[in-house]
């Protein structure tokens, strides 16, 4: 499909996501609303992956690029980060290890339980 039309489809889903998040009584990220709307559209067959193939490939394969400006903004907080960089690094490394191991453990346990039931 024409690239302009693909952009229009994806952007209108984002627009719908903004609207849904506005209507919800609690703060809910509009990007996630948009993702759930797109999932519903795909699951119901209204939207086909082919309809947005090129544009979504572009977005998914360059995902990291779009995060650049948000990270550069850390310049504004040099004074906040400078005195605590070591604790920050320790927290980041320690919690990543904890989350990685917990997830692997829980998933292995659930799979083992399921296998036990099946036998």
């Amino acid at each position: 499909m024409n690239i302009l039309r693909q952009i229009a489809i994806i952007f209108s889903i984002c627009l719908a996501g903004e609207a849904v998040s506005q209507l919800l009584p609690f703060p809910f990220p509009s990007a996630i609303s948009a993702m759930l709307i797109m999932l519903a559209a795909l699951a119901s067959g209204i939207l086909k992956v082919d309809h947005i193939k090129q544009k979504s490939d572009f977005l998914l394969s360059n995902m990291a690029f779009f995060f650049i400006p948000a990270g550069v903004g850390v310049m504004r907080y040099f004074d906040t980060v400078a005195p605590i960089w070591l604790p920050l690094l320790v927290i980041i490394i320690a919690t990543t290890v904890i989350v990685f191991l917990t997830t692997a453990l829980v998933v292995s346990l659930v799979l083992r339980l399921e296998r036990g039931e099946a036998e």
């Binding site: 990291a64 995060f67 907080y77 980041i92």
Partner: protein
């Protein structure tokens, strides 16, 4: 100088140039620590400082790039949709794994922030650090965190997971491919997923499902904290 560098073209161009160099270095060296994003920051931030260019000028173009964060999150729905059979088959493991991951992630971050006596704004900035950037930004914003600190924490977490993941798998003998994939996605989002993809198809698929599932769980859990 201002007339030229304060146009959106400046921010967009320097971002693309830095990212292109970052991807090239990463591909040549294959070192997880030389992450394309990290290299981009190490190019852009010192350049702005050296040339004495205010952040506001850069952000004229930066805002246009950031606009694409929301569509990029939305199209993650496609990866989930394409893996729907695998998800249906292992639904219990996916739900239990991502729920445990987000709860343990937020709890361990919170405890460690208390331990180091970090203030509330910093704690809120770090709480969603395990999930993919657009979701983390959304959570951090709603909790009163500082967006840029969240972004840096998320990226460092991703790099950390893709370096340590394979080591942890070896030390703790995590043999199940589904468990490996789920762990990468839950602990280190999209950056970890790119490492999981290298390990195998099942690991890659489960990792992309896991990054979305634990992202949503984190968003839902954070609603309880607001």
């Amino acid at each position: 100088m201002e007339a030229v560098c304060s146009t959106p073209f400046f921010g967009i161009t320097i971002s693309i140039v830095a990212y292109t160099i970052g991807t090239w270095v990463h591909r040549k060296t294959r070192l997880a620590i030389l992450n394309p994003l990290l290299i981009s920051y190490l190019i852009i931030i010192p350049s702005l400082l050296l040339l004495d260019i205010p952040l506001e000028w850069y952000e004229e173009g930066g805002q246009i790039i950031s606009l694409f964060l929301s569509p990029a999150t939305a199209v993650l729905a496609i990866s989930v949709y394409q893996q729907r059979q695998l998800i249906r088959k292992h639904l219990a493991a996916v739900i239990a794994g991502s729920l445990a991951a987000s709860a343990v992630s937020m709890l361990s971050v919170w405890l460690m922030c208390r331990l180091f006596a970090l203030d509330d704004a910093l704690t809120s900035s770090l709480l969603p650090k395990s999930v993919t950037t657009p979701m983390a930004i959304a959570v951090s914003d709603s909790l009163g965190g500082i967006e840029s600190i969240t972004v840096i924490a998320v990226i460092l977490t991703g790099i950390c997971g893709s370096i340590l993941g394979p080591v942890l798998i070896r030390i703790f003998r995590i043999r199940n491919e589904i468990a490996q994939g789920m762990a990468f996605g839950a602990a280190s989002h999209a950056v970890g997923t790119s490492r999981a993809v290298e390990m195998g198809e099942i690991q890659g698929a489960l990792s992309s499902v896991s990054l979305v599932a634990s992202g949503i769980m984190t968003v839902l859990l954070s609603l309880l904290l607001v």
